[in-house]
């Protein structure tokens, strides 16, 4: 029963992680470039022991066909593990804002954090800062294919971004917005402001340009919406909630059994 209590508690924790992931998905339903996350659980090692319990009975009296070597397994719950992120394409919304860029296909924009570290994002709601540098929604510099920030002098006329990420002003090429991809997108670590950081699990960033093999194209004047599916999120929430309640029932059953055991007195 104490083992059952631990198993049920592990189940409660796994469902809690699942509910947190669903809450994250629902909360970010309106976040550009957000990728839905699904918590996944694996079963943990159960407790095992020989299928023999009574101290009064010799092996010869074991039920037919059962030897002392039969292992029984009980307890051991579930553990929530690194959740799966759906890197599938989100929808596109036309905003007609000149610096709103959406990637249709593979790849992430490269940005530089305040500390100089590189980060990656699918959120293309960019703008120019006071100095004419292209920055993302959190003020981090958007990098070109050369890994340098992109600066525009607004006074020199209107700018345009082509599907391969080339930024032109009055027909002159200023820079090309760089993209990056990874061997394992699941291995990316969440960084500040919803941006992504490379890790040992993701492998190093593989730089590339929009429109080249393995990369998508850039659509100017549009934003990629969150790929959260509200119907899936709601169904998962109901499922996680029911499972949580059932695990709670198992905790209560163990508690009641323990209380019965406590009533035995010499």
């Amino acid at each position: 029963m104490i083992i059952g209590l631990q198993a049920a508690t592990a189940g409660l924790e796994a469902e809690q992680v699942s509910m947190n992931a669903i809450a994250d998905d629902i909360a970010n339903d309106n976040t550009p470039g957000f990728k839905a996350v699904f918590a996944s659980a694996v079963s943990t090692q159960p407790v095992s022991g020989p299928g023999l319990a009574s101290p009064t009975v010799q092996l010869a009296a074991m039920p037919a066909g059962v030897g002392p070597a039969t292992q029984v397994y009980y307890g051991g719950g579930a553990a929530a593990i690194a959740s799966y992120r759906d890197w599938g394409q989100g929808g596109l919304t036309v905003t007609k804002q000149p610096w709103d860029l959406a990637i249709e296909g593979n790849g992430l924009f490269r940005v530089r954090l305040t500390g100089g570290q590189n980060a990656y994002t699918r959120a293309g709601n960019f703008s120019l800062d006071g100095g004419g540098t292209l920055v993302d929604a959190f003020g981090h510099e958007v990098l070109s294919t050369n890994g340098t920030p992109i600066t525009v002098s607004v006074s020199k006329g209107p700018t345009a971004v082509s599907p391969d990420g080339t930024v032109t002003q009055g027909g002159t090429k200023l820079a090309q917005i760089g993209l990056a991809n990874f061997r394992s997108l699941q291995g990316l670590q969440p960084g500040p402001d919803g941006e992504w950081l490379a890790s040992a699990a993701s492998g190093p960033a593989l730089a590339g340009t929009a429109g080249s093999a393995g990369f998508g194209t850039i659509i100017p004047g549009a934003l990629e919406t969150s790929n959260t599916s509200m119907s899936v999120a709601m169904a998962s929430l109901i499922e996680a909630n029911s499972a949580f309640q059932m695990d709670a029932k198992a905790v209560m059953a163990a508690n009641s059994m323990w209380s019965s055991a406590n009533q035995i007195k010499a």
């Binding site: 198993a7 592990a10 397994y73």
Partner: protein, 263 residues
Amino acid sequence: MVQGLYTAASGMRAASMQEEVVARNLANIDTPGYQPLQAQVSEFAPMMVTAMQGPGTAGIVQLLSGGYSYAGTVGATGGGDVITQTPSLQQNGIIDAVSNPLAAALTGSGYFEVQTPQGPRYTRDGSFTINAKGQLATSAGDPVVGTNGGPITVQAGAVLRDGGAVVAGGKVVGHLRVVTARAPNNLVPMNGGLLYDPGNAGITNLARPAIQAGALEMPQLGMSTMMTNLIEAERAYQSSQSMLMTTDQTVNAAITQVGRGLA
């Protein structure tokens, strides 16, 4: 020795283990590829109880110590019950379509093979992704074994096809290996939803595995059955506990009341 106490205690232990099995199943209701355990309760063989009676009865043997013993039997008494086996349910689960294009659900029997630092392991959990080495791997990062006996190396954008073919860049780069176990209950459950073959599970390759791509197998656990099992275990435990206390009262009565008669 008072046999009744041990019979009741074995009932409590069996009910407690039954509850622990149900708790494990409930905790894994959302675990892909989890095969629920079943608690199989068996009764110990009944044993004969011999009686001691006073002198003058047929069959009485006078002992050297001066007491009397009688070889006749009163009847059978139960030895209680025990959980003898906890086999995993060898039934197919519910196939759930997911957004992961590399997810694989086994719609028939068998297990995927996984390469871990500790050696080969088996699982029905097909929530596969690509690891940092560019290999098709479990969610823990261990490579999945292909039909060629090694990991399947893929690029980003790879997809799985029904039947287990892994397609990257329009080309088939590998096939998932699926094995079956002749004695699946000899497989030892480990952490991470992995199963270990201690050498007697009878692992053989499966030629044409039934794999559905982009889906996961979820355990088929009837909610009402689970709740009934839980209540059953809880009540069986309480009944055995009452029996233990009743036996204790009987023994107590024997000591205090019969003893008083002797004094």
